[in-house]
């Protein structure tokens, strides 16, 4: 989603994942993004359509709720449960992953502190992302948007929040080896500003516990 729409013919496939396809579309003269969950031939049709429908509704519910409590996510413009797809606002800007390479250490820290605040607010409001990586954060002139709530959930469990932090830490480590420690520390600084020192310590303990169990080692990087 980092490139501009340009003159190319729309709709244009911009990403194909295991579960969904992402298209850039024209939505009444404005660029927009469609996420479509594709049918799986290995599931019986009634099961397949129920799953795609449920997940699409779940994801858009989460995004709607996130926006309602002040978490920046793309605005949902259209929802089509029968087709298991929805159209959302096109957020212009690079992923945080790409932007972090291109900015000064000071701005880098500021971005990660901001992300810490956003994620902490999301957690405090009872939402977890489930696939929190810096590729799933867009930076629109410094304003951060969270995208891809496909594995997200309504949850107040410390475990689920810990998984978010663990996945983010791994993502930072795998792509930004040189300044990984500074940016994750900045993230935790922002996170702590919202939740307080005690909660922050609790969740960091949880992250270490999950890591020790080894269940998330060598997974999503």
């Amino acid at each position: 989603m980092s490139e501009s729409p340009g003159e190319a013919a729309l709709p244009k496939l911009i990403y194909r994942g295991a579960e969904a396809e992402i298209y850039l579309e024209d939505w009444y003269g404005e660029p927009a993004v469609r996420k479509s969950r594709i049918p799986k031939p290995y599931r019986v049709p009634e099961l397949d359509s129920a799953i795609r429908r449920t997940r699409t509704l779940h994801e858009t519910n989460l995004m709607h709720e996130a926006r309602r409590v002040g978490i920046p996510v793309p605005v949902i413009q259209h929802l089509d449960p029968e087709e298991s797809s929805f159209i959302m606002e096109y957020v212009k800007g690079p992923t945080l992953k790409d932007e972090l390479y291109a900015i000064s250490p000071e701005i880098r820290r500021r971005r990660c502190t901001d992300l810490g605040r956003v994620v902490a607010t999301m957690h405090e409001e009872g939402l977890v992302h489930g696939d929190l990586t810096i590729s799933n954060v867009l930076s629109n002139n410094g304003k951060l948007f969270l995208i891809d709530f496909g594995l997200g959930d309504f949850s107040n469990e410390l475990e689920d929040r810990g998984v978010d932090l663990l996945l983010l830490n791994r993502a930072m480590k795998s792509t930004h080896v040189k300044f990984h420690e500074q940016i994750f520390a900045a993230f935790l600084g922002g996170y702590g500003m919202v939740v307080g020192r005690k909660r922050k310590a609790e969740i960091l303990n949880k992250v270490r516990e999950i890591e020790r169990r080894g269940r998330y080692s060598e997974r999503k990087a």
Binding site: G17, A18, E19, P41, Y42, R43, V44, L47, E218, R219
Partner: protein, 334 residues
């Protein structure tokens, strides 16, 4: 060149199996005697162990005789020291220690799950596959990296084999129950909704078990429930494998373990794998279930890599995790 021979002994659960293989991967013999539990009950560990002790001598000597070699010609004796049921493991371990010390041969500890993977690669020619290991003890998605198999996804509670066996136990079918459930399922195409739980690359089957039994109690037909449970459980695993495949971009997917014999699972997986331009492979038929050959072949590979143990260090390991096993004979492709 003289061939090398390795004897392998499997006794982790219901099967007591012994096999002789050569260093070229030729399976000279594969003899099994399977403990049959009473319908409506699972494997009773002590009864299974009693069964294994009773048949052990007979199975070992038939394996040697069918292999056409004597104990003195062996180059090593391999045994599955885990994971599995303690009393059963101890029978196999005792027999292996006796054979190894009697003929003064190297003793080779083998992880049972590694055996499933190696017999799968041997019989399919897979080189660097994403492995889907499905059995009574495992439901895991694995890829080789560094010097170990890494878990990319797995069940968060019971295994696929457990799901079928526990369901069967409640309705008085004997275990292992996969084939019977598959037969019942083939009589229906009427899908009844059941919980479908995939979390990232992981699956969870315990809710599906409870819901399937509840559906049955509330009057749904047995065939409909078997069909729907099989559809949901196999689709869930296929989706979890699809996520791991999209992430790892492996070019082969190897299905191995006892539940690999399930044709619904085979069909769903291969359909998905082909969509991703990869090649689906399934362990050759007689070696899906637990057998001596998987232990003998993994033992042969370990022997050639120098992975033997002193008999003093041959205690059974009922909870031995496969991702703890160093695999010196395999090199990481990536």
């Amino acid at each position: 060149m003289f061939a090398m021979y390795c004897l392998g002994i499997e006794s982790t659960a219901h099967t007591f199996g012994v096999s002789v293989v050569t260093d070229e991967g030729k399976i000279l013999s594969d003899v099994r005697d399977v403990y049959a539990s009473k319908p409506g009950t699972g494997i009773h560990p002590r009864e299974a162990a009693d069964h294994h002790s009773e048949v052990a001598a007979k199975v070992v000597s038939s394996a040697l005789r069918e292999g056409g070699i004597s104990g003195g010609q062996l180059d090593g004796v391999a045994v599955a020291l885990g994971p599995g049921l303690g009393p059963c493991l101890r029978v196999g371990a005792t027999v292996a220690r006796a054979v190894a010390s009697c003929f003064r041969k190297p003793f080779i500890p083998v992880n049972h799950a590694i055996g499933h993977i190696e017999i799968g690669t041997l019989t399919t020619g897979a080189r660097d596959p994403l492995v889907v290991l499905v059995s009574g003890g495992h439901t895991a998605i694995l890829a080789f990296s560094g010097d170990k198999w890494r878990v990319f996804g797995e069940t968060e509670d019971i295994t696929l084999g457990n799901l079928y066996d526990m369901f069967a136990r409640e309705i008085d079918l004997p275990s292992p129950a996969g084939p019977q459930i598959e037969k019942l399922a083939s009589k229906s195409t009427n899908f009844v909704p059941l919980p479908y739980v995939v979390k990232g690359n992981d699956v969870s089957y315990s809710g599906l078990l409870t819901a399937s039994l509840a559906k049955l109690r509330s009057g749904a037909s047995l065939a409909d429930v078997c069909y729907s449970m099989q559809e949901v459980s196999c689709s869930m695993l296929t989706e979890a494998v699809e996520r791991s495949l999209a992430y790892t971009r492996k070019k082969e997917v190897l299905l191995t373990g006892g539940v690999a014999a399930n044709s619904t699972l085979q069909k769903k997986l291969s359909e998905m794998v082909l969509l991703h331009d990869a090649i689906p492979k399934v362990v050759a038929h007689p070696y899906t279930g637990d057998c001596g050959a998987q232990i003998a072949w993994a033992g042969m590979l370990a022997l050639q890599a120098g992975e033997t143990a002193e008999i003093a260090n041959s205690r059974v390991r009922p909870r031995w995790r496969l991702e703890d096993v160093r695999i010196p004979w395999r090199s990481s492709a990536s």
